[in-house]
Symmetry: C2
Subunit: 214 residues, 2 copies
């Protein structure tokens, strides 16, 4: 049952206790791109698949073909490469983020993965195969424009990350994370964060000290 | 007039002398995602806007709001940031590439640009405003799925670039460019290439020597 039903099917999605459940992270995400009524939100959530994974679960290994697209509802998924036996972290996906890493090359083009995906916390996701997505958008054709807008938004973010990585020093990347994703800095083990910033754990420790002094 | 008309409107686009004109780069790009008949190719080309710019033309400056999306038909567009008076190159867009940098944040969201776009060769582009795009896809609704696929493809490439930037040393980036975009290395001034790889021109020179010895 919907707590605050609305008569206008195009009404913007309104927060209620129910809609603060992790499943509704996906509705919050879609709502950035188009209005979603409470009734439609409930229908969308009913038509999605959800799964929880324990901390440490490896969702995808190098060489495997990804069968699923993930969207993080709760927790954190780390993307990393194994280079000469060493884990090199290239991304962290947290609440409200689609795991864009696998979406195209893997799940759509069915190419073997070059990287690993692992849950670094107990994690809840919504997940879909290409067939699930096809069925979903046949059922909700009015959401198709949101899909394009979301992909464009993620492309914009990815290009921003690339530019700031090319432009900045590790210290600047750290400051940028402090500004844009402060919660990440407390959730992620320091050696993984250091790897993501492209420095040794010792250098990261020095960067932190310098910033605290400032 | 079409040189080799086809009776099948869904036939895959076939190369002819006409279709090797720069304007047809955009058709080659779309053909990666869906079949385009010769007749449709001609209609698409007729409905697009093309423009040529002299080497050195600045298409977009920091602080300006981009009104256009560009697709490179011939030539090369460089993306760079001005950091403490110094140009830092973050991308090169050549034949067959959409200039993804402006597409979302700028042209769609109308945010002032953080970077510059300049032609480093005489350059020909197809260009479109958001209104042009709307009119175009109303005229060619069957191309809408190609638009989503293209955006997903560019997102995949952008994420690949980001991962390899985080993972690799400047020497590895150089080797990667040698493998994936060898023509770029001869076309681009060395100081811009060095900036793109995040090294000084002297370091780039040393990297090149080391690779030649190998």
């Amino acid at each position: 049952m919907i707590e605050t039903p609305t008569k206008d099917p195009n009404a913007t999605f309104i927060k209620t206790r129910r809609t603060q459940a992790p499943e509704y992270e996906i509705i919050k995400y879609i709502s950035q791109f188009m209005p979603v009524s409470e009734a439609q939100a409930e229908a969308i959530v009913k038509n999605m698949k959800f799964r929880s994974f324990k901390k440490g679960t490896v969702l995808l290994k190098e060489g495997q073909v990804s069968k699923m697209c993930y969207f993080v509802l709760k927790g954190c998924i780390r993307q990393y490469f194994l280079v000469d036996g060493e884990e090199k972290t290239t991304n962290f996906f947290t609440e409200g983020q689609p795991v864009t890493a696998t979406a195209y090359e893997g799940t759509f083009k069915q190419k073997p993965s070059k990287f690993y995906l692992a849950c670094i916390e107990d994690t809840m996701v919504s997940l879909s195969s290409p067939e699930d997505e096809l069925a979903f958008f046949e059922k909700f054709p009015n959401l198709k424009p949101a899909r394009l807008l979301a992909t464009e938004e993620e492309l914009g973010k990815s290009q921003d990350s690339l530019s700031s990585y090319i432009l900045g020093s590790p210290e600047e990347h750290y400051l940028n994370l402090l500004k844009t994703r402060p919660e990440l800095l407390d959730r992620v083990p320091q050696y993984q964060l250091a790897s993501y910033l492209g420095v040794t754990p010792e250098s990261l420790s020095r960067i932190r000290k310098r910033i605290m002094i400032k």
